[in-house]
């Protein structure tokens, strides 16, 4: 009786797992088919032959350039975010000053705000300084909006570092900059890798800012690019499927290799949601 109940629960868990991955597997299946197969055969059938040319076709007709935009914008924003958040975490946890609690509180509040309440003034701001349709407006925005969550993840680690580190370093006549860049920052590499992955997921998948601030095709990132692209290829399911799989691949690969980091980062980003 107990075994039956256990099996039943197990089956439930597996059903949920199938529900969670099946749509993505189905997407991969139809990304390798042509329209004739898709419209005449069962949606569950395997492709008669793997049509990888779907991938080549969409890559050459524009997806490649969106992809590289996503890569550099995501990458540069991550470097800024992690560096500035690390410096802020250092100042807040290791240095003594009035108002550090208040500033920390502001970062916490920054986690909660709906971006739609700030996007019109932000748009106007960039318009006034001539930075609409400029990819740097996206880099700056990503950096600013990811600072709170990155800081939150870093703080826990900074609080656990023993004070003796700085005490000893200062005794030896070490400057604050040397303490941060040569001692503390290298010690935080494990938690930095977590924040890098979380930032990567957020930046790679972001949609609203790019959709609002960027109008030229040459600066669009994948999320917005595929949106336009799919508009043109409305009826070619294979091309749409290939496009979507390409857009998902970098994050899925990162997950495959660093799933524990991703799990850790997402758990500690619970405050953001």
């Amino acid at each position: 009786m107990k075994r039956v109940g256990y099996m039943l629960l197990y089956v439930c868990l597996i059903v949920v797992a199938v529900f969670q991955v099946f749509p993505v597997l189905w997407l991969f299946l139809f990304s390798l088919k042509n329209n004739q197969e898709i419209f005449s055969k069962s949606p569950f059938s395997l492709p008669s032959e793997f049509r990888w040319e779907n991938y080549l076709k969409v890559w050459d007709s524009g997806i490649g350039s969106y992809f590289w935009n996503s890569v550099w914008i995501t990458g540069v924003a991550i470097v800024f975010t992690v560096l500035l958040a690390s410096m802020a975490a250092f100042a807040i946890t290791r240095m003594q000053w009035k108002g550090s609690k208040l500033v920390l509180g502001l970062f916490m509040v920054g986690l909660m705000i709906p971006i739609h309440s700030s996007i019109i003034p932000l748009f106007n701001m960039f318009l006034n300084v001539n930075m609409i349709d400029n990819p740097w407006s996206i880099v700056i925005t990503y950096t600013a909006y990811n600072l709170p969550i990155t800081l939150m993840i870093l703080l826990g680690f900074y609080y656990t570092l023993p004070r003796e580190i700085e005490e000893a370093a200062i005794m030896d006549g070490c400057s604050v900059h040397r303490i941060f860049f040569k001692i503390i920052f290298p010690m935080t590499i494990p938690v930095i890798s977590t924040t890098v992955i979380i930032n990567m997921i957020y930046n790679w998948n972001e949609f609203v800012f790019v959709n609002t601030f960027i109008s030229s095709d040459e600066y669009k990132t994948l999320t917005v690019g595929i949106q336009n692209f799919i508009g043109q290829y409305m009826t070619d399911w294979g091309a749409i499927g290939a496009t979507l799989i390409i857009s998902m691949l970098p994050i899925l690969l990162a997950f495959l290799f660093f799933s524990n980091k991703v799990v850790e980062g997402i758990s500690s980003s619970a405050v953001k949601g």
Partner: protein
């Protein structure tokens, strides 16, 4: 030590870049949104001060209330679905083989962009070639709905991918909280003759209530500001049937060029989110947190 680590210049050098960025790009725009809400403004020309008119209009705007109702429905569905995630996590955390792999599989949709999820589910919901209707037809359903094209169904249809997207996230959080409960407590209860159900409901659940409350706030607030997937999947249509607050605001500003009114709605969205956060916190607050 103290002298070196409290040097004002150095502190400024470390905290100011991050602090200025969030002030300029997060907090000042928030305040400006409330201010722009007082203007008649098309986004290009000069602003004209019109007092509280936009805010009064919003209160009387049936479309705004309709979109707010949809947002609150999503919040309700998201909050109720937490019960399911909690149940799954309770099973998952009870020493089941492969639980680590399963929770990672659950997380996969969370890693995908809302645009990709939306495009994928447009295909899932496709009336003739999508998997959903294919399954329904093979189960003997004669006329399955055209999901995204039917005003009566569309709102609930788009809730499915949204819940699909976030399920793994909440399961992960509950799982982590349950794994944090010391084994000795559960063991002691088992020795005293508690059944698995009693252990789950009388011991484990009360111990993770703090985390559950946080997730309720997250689910509700996250739903109220939800945008991407709905915007891509239906654009709020057909005929406003799936419009939510954020998509209504976005449309007003960036399609109708009514930046003043859009700002007012954006500011109301902020106020509503703040009020609901406080209310949910108050409702779920208990006098003392359980400790172990």
């Amino acid at each position: 030590m103290n002298r070196v680590m409290s040097n004002k210049w150095i502190i400024g050098m470390y905290i100011l870049p991050a602090f200025l960025l969030i002030s300029i790009f997060i907090f000042i725009p928030l305040l400006l949104s409330g201010y722009y809400g007082l203007m008649d403004w098309d986004g290009i020309g000069a602003m004209k001060y019109i007092g509280m008119e936009n805010y009064f209009n919003a209160i009387q705007d049936g479309l705004f209330w309709q979109s707010a109702f949809h947002s609150f429905m999503l919040a309700l569905f998201s909050a109720v679905s937490l019960i399911v995630y909690l149940a799954i996590s309770l099973v998952l955390a009870s020493k089941i083989k492969g639980s680590n792999l399963l929770r990672k599989i659950y997380l996969i949709p969370m890693l995908l962009s809302s645009v990709a999820i939306a495009q994928l589910w447009i295909k899932v919901f496709n009336p003739s070639n999508g998997i959903l209707n294919s399954i329904l037809v093979s189960l003997g359903v004669d006329n399955p709905p055209a999901w995204l094209a039917e005003p009566a169904v569309v709102l609930y249809a788009i809730f499915i991918p949204i819940l699909w997207q976030y399920a793994g996230f909440y399961i992960l959080i509950y799982y982590a909280a349950l794994k944090n409960i010391p084994e000795s407590i559960v063991e002691a209860a088992r020795i005293d003759g508690a059944t698995p159900f009693q252990i789950a409901f009388k011991i484990k659940l009360p111990l993770i209530m703090g985390v559950v409350k946080v997730t309720i706030v997250l689910a509700v607030v996250g739903s109220l500001k939800y945008f991407d997937l709905i915007y891509v999947m239906t654009g709020g249509g057909p005929n406003g049937a799936s419009e939510v607050m954020a998509s209504y605001m976005y449309k007003l500003a960036f399609s109708s060029n009514d930046f003043g009114y859009g700002s007012a709605i954006g500011f109301l969205l902020l106020i509503i989110t703040l009020i609901v956060t406080v209310v949910v916190r108050k409702v779920t607050a208990s006098k003392e947190e359980l400790q172990y």
